[in-house]
């Protein structure tokens, strides 16, 4: 799965696969302010993304390109949105997409919360255990990660599982009695159930 999507990071302009595409440079308008000193890899990737987006090309190579763009600017909601369109057009395996998201889950998880929920909603109850476990993993590294807790509440609300949450909160509080996020979850149990 990884190798299918991993294009090795070679410049796109030197790849045969992209020969037919003319990259679309950014038009920064009149007298831009706070211009950013983009690195070449970033500039090139986004130029190709603009071209593919404008052409509305929903192909496997477009999917790979969104992955590159996401790696360079994970907060770019336009890229994530286009990736969803491509996933739908290709009728992609969303279990694989969830695996992909779990592989890249790290401190940048906040950037693709919405995308993640889009995938989980489509997978339904089958994704619950996987998601809750992944969140536990993140919280085991950073027990107060706000986005992880926010996502956890969302999963519990959407797919259930509050009945086991008391044990989990108690475990976290045993590890750190000052974990305010765990105290909050403890209280939220009552509000939501």
């Amino acid at each position: 799965m990884d190798s299918r999507e991993d294009d090795g990071g070679e410049p796109l302009s030197r790849m045969a696969e992209w020969r037919d595409v003319t990259p679309l440079p950014q038009d920064d308008g009149p007298n831009p302010v706070v211009p950013i000193a983009y690195k070449e890899e970033f500039r090139e990737t986004m130029d190709y993304f603009r071209a593919i987006y404008k052409a509305d090309e929903r192909s496997p190579r477009a999917l790979r390109l969104t992955r590159r763009a996401i790696h360079l600017n994970p907060g770019n909601y336009t890229v994530w949105h286009f990736r969803r369109l491509v996933l739908e057009a290709l009728n992609a395996d969303l279990d694989e997409e969830l695996d992909f998201l779990q592989r890249i889950a790290n401190s940048n998880s906040k950037n693709y919360q919405h995308h993640r929920r889009w995938v989980v909603e489509r997978l339904g109850a089958n994704a619950r255990a996987k998601e809750l476990n992944l969140i536990k993993k993140i919280l085991s590294i950073d027990a107060k990660n706000y986005h992880a807790w926010s996502h956890r509440q969302w999963v519990l609300q959407a797919l259930g599982g509050w009945e086991d949450e008391l044990d989990y909160c108690q475990q976290l509080l045993e590890e750190d009695i000052f974990n305010n996020s765990a105290w909050n979850q403890f209280s939220a149990r009552h509000d939501f159930t």
């Binding site: 907060g75 336009t78 909050n184």
Partner: protein, 403 residues
């Protein structure tokens, strides 16, 4: 790429400085962050894995000149580290330009050129019918969400973003542009497309998190445009109230842990919408839509032993919460209760020798913490800074409309 500034030597100098700083590996925070997120995801690396601590002792005073130089550099060219923030370009511009205004250095900015550039980000509908198609005809945050129409005049999906629109309007006001001349009708009618049944707001039509940040952006947009037809205030208020936690603070969504950024968005929104009056604590008001005593208690408890403010209970102090929570106290009329001397001392430990402020003491600066450092010093009434409009997060002069 044409850079602003008639004098090319100034730009060249700025670029040279940036290159020197880059090569030395110092001067720029390299960890990932997003100005919209109040560093929520940042708190993981509290150990400061990406930081390179400055070994020189903190300056005992607010060094305005150094900060002006920092902002000028950003205005002319942002280092490549910010490319991951490309999608928030207008936000970066807001921090820079409004920052200069706070420091009484707005003369460094070419106001007309800035206004033209910001206006070029506005999403324009091709017809009035398009205003109901679900998209938001506000401002894009960057060129990566804005695409020119093709030969047939057909645009790819071309939607604005709430936070970018807040920043765009704020910048325009700061440089003295008359907001009455923009197409505010398109903004307000399509703004309603983003409000959810529970009163919250999506930031953009392609789907994203709905939480208090975007309720705040919507309220600030309506306030600046002086027109509340863009949102259902009552529904927004209901959503906000659901976010107040058992301990008095506000989470970013109902059920979430109370948080400095969420609390600011809640209280500032209520104030802008007219649901809480000025200086609430000094009035003999027996009821309010929110639990004010508990909120006040929560806010006061956020000032830590080191003098700084934490975003949540038992988290480390972080520069920006001196604004997020300080501003809440200012709105309520309770800012006088904090330990200003201790806060002042803490903030100076986050002042960078490169100009700007860092999140934690001794770390590298970034434009987001720089801006909220300046707003925090304005709340402390630092001499030489412009006064702050707490509920809008910009200078009083801008809020009132004085150039």
């Amino acid at each position: 790429m044409q850079l602003v500034g008639g004098d090319n030597s100034g730009v060249a100098e700025a670029v040279k400085q940036v290159e020197q700083v880059k090569q030395s590996g110092k001067g720029m925070a390299t960890r990932e962050w997003n100005p919209l997120d109040f560093d929520i995801g940042e708190e993981e690396d509290e150990e400061g894995t990406a930081s390179q601590s400055s070994i020189s002792p903190p300056l005992p005073y607010f060094d305005r000149d150094r900060h002006v130089a920092f902002l000028e550099m950003m205005y002319n060219l942002m280092p490549h580290h910010y490319q991951s923030q490309e999608i928030n370009r207008l936000t970066l511009a807001f921090f820079t330009i409004s920052g200069l205004h706070l420091l009484r250095a707005l003369d460094r900015v070419d106001k007309d050129r800035v206004a033209d550039w910001v206006l070029s980000f506005q999403a324009h509908p091709r017809s009035r019918a398009q205003l109901k198609n679900g998209q938001f005809y506000g401002f894009h945050g960057s060129r990566t969400s804005q695409f020119p129409p093709d030969g047939n005049g057909v645009s790819a999906r071309n939607a604005g973003h709430l936070a970018s629109t807040y920043c765009a309007l704020a910048i325009l006001k700061t440089v003295g542009f008359n907001l009455l001349t923009i197409d505010k009708e398109s903004i307000l009618i399509s703004l309603r497309n983003l409000q959810q049944p529970d009163g919250s707001f999506m930031p953009v039509d392609v789907g994203a998190e709905t939480d208090l940040r975007f309720v705040y952006c919507a309220a600030a947009i309506c306030f600046m445009l002086e027109d509340w037809s863009g949102m259902d205030r009552e529904k927004a208020k209901e959503y906000i109230l659901k976010c107040q936690s058992y301990d008095g603070g506000f989470g970013l969504m109902p059920g979430l842990e109370s948080h400095g950024g969420g609390t600011y968005c809640a209280v500032a929104s209520l104030r802008l919408m007219g649901y809480i009056e000025d200086d609430l604590l000094s009035k003999t008001v027996t009821s309010s839509v929110i639990n004010v005593p508990l909120l006040l208690d929560w806010c006061m408890q956020r000032q830590a032993i080191d003098g700084g403010f934490q975003g949540r209970a038992n988290k480390p102090s972080d520069t920006c919460y001196a604004f997020w929570i300080g501003a809440v106290l200012r709105i309520l009329g309770g800012y006088k209760f904090i330990d200003k001397i201790a806060l002042h001392r803490f903030l100076l430990t986050c002042q960078s020798e490169f100009g700007g402020f860092s999140k934690y003491p001794g770390d590298l600066p970034d434009i987001y913490h720089a801006y909220y450092g300046y707003t925090a010093f304005s709340l402390l009434e630092e001499p030489g800074l412009n006064p702050l409009c707490a509920e809008l997060g910009m200078t009083d002069l801008t809020a009132i409309g004085i150039i």
